[in-house]
Symmetry: C2
Subunit: 500 residues, 2 copies
């Protein structure tokens, strides 16, 4: 006889973390693999989460003067080739368009026809095509800074894909800015990193380490890459947003020049920065539990689900009426700048099944309302950050009046839990032996902090011995110290981890 | 000596309408041709217009229960082939992905490598790939209706392109719904047409004729195509949105079947519907004048620009301070559900140049503020629906208090003007001679209404003799009458026009 699992998701995180992840994505109806290899279908519940992320980030972008625009999906092969490191980084896995028509062959089956003079690459990122356009837009220092973002799809032909984390096609935003001076471009690169990190902490409830990539981990063509690294519940790092200072590399490749205020022609300084649907993978892995997804309230597709409890058919109308009024009342309230999003689940299925469905989907608040609650003018509330059976009766008016602060307290609890987990799994190590011991001791290891000067030999050894990489050099640094591998003096403290 | 043109745009609409259009798009900084053949760059001012269109439409979609999702960019060739008319309609011009890598050849230049087993088509529309996914999602009548939309880019390899109107890549939304009964699917197709048409009239200030396509103009694979047709200022029709009843054609092609409430397995009924960035071309051509773009207020990227007038340098601070306060005050107001969008143009260029720049961009309201206005606590206001020199002095408080109704009156004026133009250029004709005379009499002809039964010979003749097509059979019909071409009885009244 098979025993019913005690948790809604099987396997649990402990039993098999990668498989747990796939099962949560499925049970929460966030996304699924499509019939096209490597491409995903983002389902309505997952897409609504992305829309909320877009809305909040877009509002922040606009506050710092960034405007949206849209650039072509296709990049001529010759453009990609303009920056040597860049083409090296992207040519190995890209979708190549070679024909512009399908035509019936002798057998009547359709084959590609009308070959293009020059192949086109489906954008893996848009520095080169946007650089070409900017070279015409930027003429004088008066045209600067140029601060533009696009929301778009991109394609990188990944061989091993995982929903949200690594897919051939994904959705993202890519900002591309042009500045008159190096100082201004560097400052803007940092401003965006902090904008990203503040967003991830305040909206997604995920603590991050703000840092700088080592040379071997930089974006292909960048002078400096800033990133934020978050710890997942298996102790691995997820890079969830990067901001690149591109120096004059792309300005030279695309001839972005301007006439300075003193009449001299100069190359401009550019930046680029992006976050993608990968972030959703991070949210799942940072907060989810063995009962499914836990959605941080500020980006939740819906905040509250009302579950009518109808013991007798003749009570249906009264209960539904009460629930509908509660829904309207809640929808009149604002949370995080937008109207509260409320579901009323009137499906004709068993109450337990219904409730578990919403737990797996990670909705922050479940509210049961039946005749007995109505008599007391109260609701029976469950919070997703607490156990499925921990439910409280609240006066209806109290619930309505305080729902925003209840949601905030869920946000705070999720953040505190994730931060405690990160701190517990982070250790400073002072020798290579300690570093090896840290990563060899168990499967789910965490972050090791060590003083380090990047060294090609050690990049290679750490990767092959431990599958560990230097994730970032935190922006906040104490005193430098000798490198634990090479003994070279004045090495900054660096975060090491296994990574997604 | 060259004479300065009397209008900001040269040529005028009268002189050369197609070239006037290109010049308006350029002068208003809405979009430009990209270095990739057939693909456009949508510039920030044009993209903001699209964002506002998206926001308003998306809100309406959600009100009728539609949720957003995202499906793959690529469609396997075999999927496209599943529906015969469909592949016929799209195979002739499509972007075909054949390789997944670039590799250096003997000369060191990069060439496509790693050929795909099956070519992928960049989606020209997504019925086939979404149908495949739906065939798994839909199992029982309880899963219906399924109402989903996606905002996405699509590619059709058009040979002759024009910014917004016809480009290889464009942005759109495509809704795809599944229903249990024919009646429900037909009703939903109609509901969306009216949603579209109400939006175009109430937000874009463009009057449209709601109708049904004749068989030869239907979407490839559709049973019935509803469309809205708008008249441009050259008398041509622009189809600015379509809603298709697909019958069971795509359900059969993709095996979308469900178990009915009585336990019988049945094919489902599907619909699809879309509007695209083409709509922006319609807005330009419906409202623009010889001074540039005129943006309908409810989707305007910005509603008001404040233009500080600073005769003496020592007055700068006081004027700028006054203007900044006015901006803050205006931004606190709501228009059409969103905060008022206000620009303060403090660029250091001549006032005339500045003002003309905003006229060409089509901003609904310009407000000049100088020391003399400040003394009277008044502003000097110009409306874009009126001549550039027709400006009025208004008390500041009156302007702030009534700005929403001023914007509404601009909307009403634009709509009334477009409707009067459409009526003036629409004529009922009762014989083929009259129809020929109507379209031969001048370049900018308009709409001819005639009773008509579609006939392949006449489709061909009207196209070759007059470049005229049947645009739609209006939903509102009077008494039928004999066809003016064939004499067959009971022909519906049909709109004929030259079309974009």
């Amino acid at each position: 006889m098979s025993q019913k699992p005690k948790t809604a998701i099987s396997p649990t995180r402990e039993e098999n973390y990668p498989e747990w992840y796939q099962q949560v994505v499925k049970a929460a109806e966030l996304a699924e693999n499509s019939p096209v290899r490597g491409c995903m279908v983002i389902k309505p519940w997952g897409y609504a989460l992305w829309e909320n992320i877009q809305h909040l980030l877009d509002t922040e972008f606009k506050k710092v003067g960034v405007r949206n625009a849209y650039f072509p999906l296709f990049i001529p092969k010759s453009y990609l080739e303009k920056e040597a490191e860049h083409v090296e980084g992207f040519a190995k896995e890209c979708a190549v368009v070679t024909h512009s028509r399908l035509e019936a062959d002798a057998d009547g089956s359709l084959v590609p026809a009308s070959p293009l003079e020059e192949p086109l690459i489906v954008r893996p990122t848009s520095e080169t095509i946007i650089g070409e356009v900017y070279s015409k837009w930027v003429q004088s220092y008066r045209d600067l800074p140029l601060l533009i973002n696009q929301w778009a799809n991109v394609v990188r032909w990944e061989m091993r894909t995982r929903l949200f984390l690594r897919t051939a096609e994904f959705l993202w935003q890519e900002g591309h800015t042009v500045h008159a001076t190096q100082e201004e471009a560097v400052a803007f690169t940092e401003k965006i990193l902090h904008l990203y990190a503040d967003f991830v902490e305040s909206a997604l409830a995920i603590p991050v380490i703000r840092g700088r990539k080592t040379a071997s981990e930089r974006f292909p063509g960048a002078t400096d890459t800033l990133s934020m690294e978050a710890m997942m519940q298996d102790g691995k790092a997820l890079q969830s947003g990067t901001s690149h200072f591109l120096g004059q590399n792309f300005a030279r490749a695309s001839e972005i020049k301007f006439l300075g205020s003193e009449g001299r022609e100069e190359y401009a300084w550019t930046t680029s920065w992006g976050v993608s649907t990968r972030m959703i993978g991070g949210v799942i892995m940072a907060h989810g539990d063995d009962d499914g997804f836990i959605c941080p309230p500020r980006v939740a597709p819906s905040h509250v689900v009302i579950l009518p409890v109808i013991p007798k058919e003749e009570q249906r109308e009264a209960v539904m009426d009460y629930c509908a009024k509660l829904k309207t009342e809640l929808e009149g309230k604002l949370y995080f700048g937008l109207p509260l999003r409320v579901e009323l689940d009137d499906r004709d299925i068993r109450g337990g099944e219904k409730s578990w469905g919403w737990i797996k989907k990670g909705i922050p608040l479940r509210v049961e309302v039946g005749p007995r609650d109505m008599e007391k003018d109260s609701v029976f509330m469950g919070r997703r950050d607490q156990g499925p059976k921990e439910k409280n009766s609240l006066r209806r008016s109290e619930f309505v009046d305080t729902v925003e602060s209840i949601l905030d307290s869920i946000h705070d609890a999720l953040f505190a839990r994730a931060l405690a987990f990160q701190k517990e799994r982070t250790q400073t190590v002072v020798s290579k032996e300690e570093l090896y011991a840290f990563f060899e001791k168990e499967e789910h290891s965490g972050f090791a902090l060590a003083h380090y000067h990047e060294d090609p030999e050690w990049v290679e050894r750490l990767q092959s011995d431990l599958k560990v990489t230097a994730r970032c050099i935190p922006l906040e640094q104490g005193e430098p110290a000798p490198c634990i591998f090479t003994g070279k003096s004045s090495a900054p403290l660096t975060v090491f981890a296994k990574a997604y």
